[in-house]
Amino acid sequence: MENSLVNDNYVLRTVNLSKVYKKKYAVKDVNMHIEKGDIYGFVGENGAGKTTVIRLVTGLAAPTEGTFYLFGEEKDKALGRRRVAGIVESVSLNKSMTAVENLKYQCFICGITKSDEELREVLREVGLDVDDIGSKKVRHFSLGMRQRLGIATVILQDPEFVLLDEPMNGLDPQGFIDMRETIKRLNARGITFLISSHILSELDKVCNKIGFISKGQLTEEILVSDLHRAASAKVELGFQSQEEAKAAQAVLAGVRIFRAVSAENGVVRIFGDVDVNTVMEILVANRIRITSINMREQSVEDYYLGKVRG
């Protein structure tokens, strides 16, 4: 077991975090590292295990194996510290209350006192028109308004670490921009974020670090700046058959020079800064013949797909 004080700067550190549901691993050996001030994007396809990890670190579910440290303290001690806030799965609101009443209710839960004016200020901060929503019950709110109110219930608590599970869901393009700006503004105040999403392009715009999760396993943690570098170029190699492509993929992946190598429909894709001569030398040495070679630009999504589909 790692020492809990390896890096005091870690807001969240998970150590071999695993959860088993019905004898199957939902997440396995997740080792995640989020430092103070990070906006950490947690990316994976639906069912990859993003929500499960968030549920584990918020105390909604107990890990089957492994542990996690919040602000350097191990889970049971850390969960009672009230420095964390979040939205998990969906925004949790009392639909028969108004927006201000929901915030008041959250204040009672957290044991904090705020005046009505302060609560209205929080609503304004997340872009809710206080005059417009007035005495409207939350059940009459649009999905976007609920998302904003959910964020309001989170920032109301002045947390140090915020976990948002798919916060962009249901938002219109303007909502995307507003949410991004809100997150950046709060991050500038010193709040660390963990944001899960399957929309990498959105996280790419707001996060400084990305963690890729696939089939319950954290496949890579990468700084967004490194991600852009790694995704800046791609080499595509054509082969006679998928079998040959698979063989080339195995050889190239084994060399460990390249960040990610995928093989699909007889084509091998290599991501990141790739020296084509090195690739050729390796393939020749292994007596693998190529039929074509292409250099092309790729997006971070291509990089992500390369990681996931491997």
Partner: protein, 268 residues
Amino acid sequence: MGKLLKADLYRIFKSKLFLIAALLALVFPVLTVLLYFGLDKLIAATSELQSMMNMNMTGLNMTGQQLLSEQFVLSSNMGLILPIFITLFVAGDISNGTLRNKIIAGRSRTAIYFSHLITSGLTGAFLMVVSNLIFLAAVIPVFGYGVDIDKAEVLKLVYFYATGGITIFFGASVSTMVTLSIKNTAPAVIISAVVLMGLSLIGNGIHAVDPLDENRLLCLIPTYTNTSFLAKGTFDLTSFLLGVVSYAVCILVLTLAGLIVFKKSDIK
């Protein structure tokens, strides 16, 4: 836990559910008194019914004291409403997802469980007291209390409300345990109502078989009708204490069981 209690009470008083339950608590006793008043007039106007009353064949005794205990039988109607109300209140926290907010905010599951139990019990007891006070306020001017109110009678009333209150808490402990264990509104409502109705049926069954020993036997089975049976009889401290202890043990066992399940389960 005080903060959670505040939050849960705030939620309950803001809910339509509470408004409906409070309306029922207000309307029930008034309707009951009106019903008895109409019945009394009918009896006075019908010679056959009058002679049946004189021969004590109807089982009715139109005095405030007697009708108050009948009200508790009627409050077994309220008693059926209460578990439904409590279950819906607790389940609302789960279906809205606000239970998640409490856990993420760092509140312990024990505090959350007890906050639900206490809020439900207090609200139920409050509704019971309101309902019975309105009934007393309406029934005494119409029918009179029926007996001289002395120290023993006051003690009996205290005993009557105390057992009523603890029965409400018993109902709350059943509903809270069931709801927080299975975390699904519809089955939780059905199971809570079935458990409490089942216990009432057992109580009534024992009463039918052995009415003479009703106090000692019935006070061991927590049901709403017990309070009525106990209130009709003469004041008996042993039965009262047995009842309170038996109810308290049941509440304790249910709460411990519910808490163990709730603490071990994952929250959706």
